[in-house]
């Protein structure tokens, strides 16, 4: 069986004079969670809409299992748009069944699946009610159920965590991990970078329509400049400035963060620190996704 690889290959989309998405490429394997981050207006939503066929790309191609995505293969993708929307005056279970059938499920399977997901989300007894009668939190749960009800092979979720209470965030996280373990390819966007770091197998950072970095968080760290924390209390402030290729970034108390440039030797730095007196701490800096994101985005702006 061909692996269910979702490939976004050099996709571009232009709105009038604005190039919303410019040559964006990434791929999501079966069972993988791909976190899609970037400032507002970077092109995340547009990219997702192109994948779903809601928008047509000006250039590039989306492939599923090796062949260009078609209308029929798109129907196997669950979608949660950034702008949430279901029928407010339609019954909860009824509209889940309707959406499942639109995605090609038989009536019987659709009804069973709708019931199962409502039960899973603790809404088993609310199925007959109109959606607008439910609280916002419960409406969000129904929205997620709408993306999951037809057993999709891939999930594209635009800001699935926005507006969720902490309980719902935990539920959403658990469901996404579980779906990924069942072999579903998951793409989601979010501004909550700690969440993205925790949940994602791989991350893509977009800025102004460009994919500026992508890979596992560790891979992103590897591409970032090497930095070390040094705690040498007797060293003073400018002991490191004589070292070649070493640039002090900032100081926190007696600790200093040093950036090691091309060809700089961390062992030489440690030796220099030891010459000033005792060294209480010497460790490589592991930036969080939030720091990497800030770094990547501001660096690009500075160019």
């Amino acid at each position: 069986m061909t692996e269910q690889l979702l490939e976004i290959d050099r996709v571009s989309k232009r709105y009038g004079r604005v190039l919303a998405v410019d040559d964006v490429s990434f791929e999501v394997r079966s069972g993988e969670v791909f976190g899609f981050v970037g400032p507002n207006g970077a092109g995340k939503t547009t990219t997702m809409r192109v994948v779903l066929g809601v928008l047509a790309a000006d250039a590039g191609e989306v492939r599923w299992a090796g062949s260009p995505i078609t209308f029929d293969t798109r129907r196997r993708i669950g979608y949660m748009p950034e702008e949430r929307g279901l029928y407010p005056t339609m019954g909860v279970a009824e509209q889940l069944v309707y959406l499942a059938r639109l995605h090609g499920m038989t009536g019987v399977a659709a009804r069973r699946s709708a019931r199962d997901w409502l039960e899973r989300f603790g809404l088993a007894d609310r199925g007959a009610e109109k959606l607008q009668k439910l609280s916002m939190g419960n409406q969000q749960r129904v929205q997620l159920a709408a993306a999951l009800v037809f057993e999709p092979e891939a999930l594209i979720l635009d800001e699935p965590f926005s507006g969720l209470d902490p309980v719902a965030v935990d539920l959403m996280t658990a469901v996404l991990r579980e779906r990924a373990e069942a072999g579903v390819s998951v793409v989601f966007s979010s501004h909550q970078l700690e969440l993205v770091e925790r949940l994602s197998d791989r991350v893509g950072i977009v800025r102004a329509g460009h994919m500026v970095a992508s890979g596992t968080v560790d891979e992103l760290r590897a591409t970032a400049a090497r930095r070390v924390w040094v705690d040498a209390p007797l060293a003073g402030t400018d002991w490191a400035s004589e070292l070649t290729g070493v640039k002090p970034v900032r100081a926190e108390g007696t600790r200093m963060l040093l950036e090691l440039g091309e060809g700089a030797d961390d062992q030489a730095v440690l030796a220099a620190a030891l010459r000033t007196g005792p060294v209480h701490e010497f460790r490589p800096d592991r930036p969080s996704l939030a720091e990497l994101f800030r770094h990547v985005v501001t660096e690009e702006v500075a160019e």
Partner: protein, 417 residues
Amino acid sequence: MNGFPERRRVDSGVLSTILLVAGREFTTRVRNRIYVISTILIIAVIGGFALLQVNVFSKINTTPTYQVGFTPQTAALAGPLRSSTSGVDVHVTRVSSLASGDSQVRSGSLDALVAGTPASPRIVVASGVNGTFQSALLSLVQDNELTAELRASGLDPSKLYARIDRIRVPVQRLKPSHSSGYQQPFIGIVMAIALYIFLGVYGQVIGQGVVAEKSSRVVEILLSTVRSGQLLVGKVAGISAVGLLQVAVIAAAAIVFIVPNHIFSLPGSAVGTIIGGVLWFVLGLLLYAQMIAAMASLVSRSEDVTNATLPVMLVLVIGYLLALGVAVPEATASVSGGELSALAGPTTILSMVPFFAPILMPIRIAASAVPAWQIAVAAVLLVACIVGVALTAARIYSNSVLHFGARVNLLEALRGS
């Protein structure tokens, strides 16, 4: 997979997707309380009208009763007169004498008194006499005289009367004409007005339905699995079916109430006209409903729907005005004067223009014999136009339905973003 059902997928084709969309529109709307109540109310109004017609108006309009007294000498005329008089409801009473009859006529308890002898009766009235009654009595006396004379000459009067009744004068028409006369262009006009009213009501429902999906943003999820054209066609079909069901239920109720009570009768030849009219109605509905849906997709708020669909309704109004101003006068002229050449005027051409054909053609067909080629041209043009409009509408719809907020420019929607 965590106890969830295994994937059960059927490859739903275009038609089943459209049917799913239409089915949702249909089931959610048919259960709507306002829809059910308004249908029941309209039926109640028709039923009330029928009851009123039977119990009140019919009393006002029925043939008046005429109280007629007969003296003992003329009593033999009473029975035959009652059975032979039509147009006036004669109530027969016997009076004991001429004098008591006179006084009853004077007091008004009798309308007329028949005195004299059966062979030469005399009518006694206060002042005026009912002409129908008078001529009925006259012909009764003449018939009696004639029958007696025939018998005296040895002839059988019943055979003679039967032979006379069989005599017919046939009519030979040199030009074709509708025999049923004025009622048929009336049917065509009613169908045209019905289309206009239907689109006025259900066109707005379609427009509101399009905008509701837009404003609730559910359309984005739908478009990730349904092609915009299928969504549009399904929506229009579903809502139209809801409307047609309402019309059918009301029409059926009207027939149930009206026909047994003889309030209104249709000549048998009108049935064909009505069936043809329904076909034009459905084609017109398809044409205009798609345009309305496309125009409504340009806006995002329900209060803007009326404005957005106004241009479409204006085209419909023009068709309607053409019907009243041009087609109806020509049609009625052709019926009353039997002058078919009158329809060779502007109506002939206008009735083949797709946007007006659904309104003008039923009127023409009901009024006169329309050449088959003209009906064919109108139908082919109309169907072609429906296909073109459907494609254009799908394009406008898919280009504008995801633009939330400000109204989308029609030309931009046509060109695509």
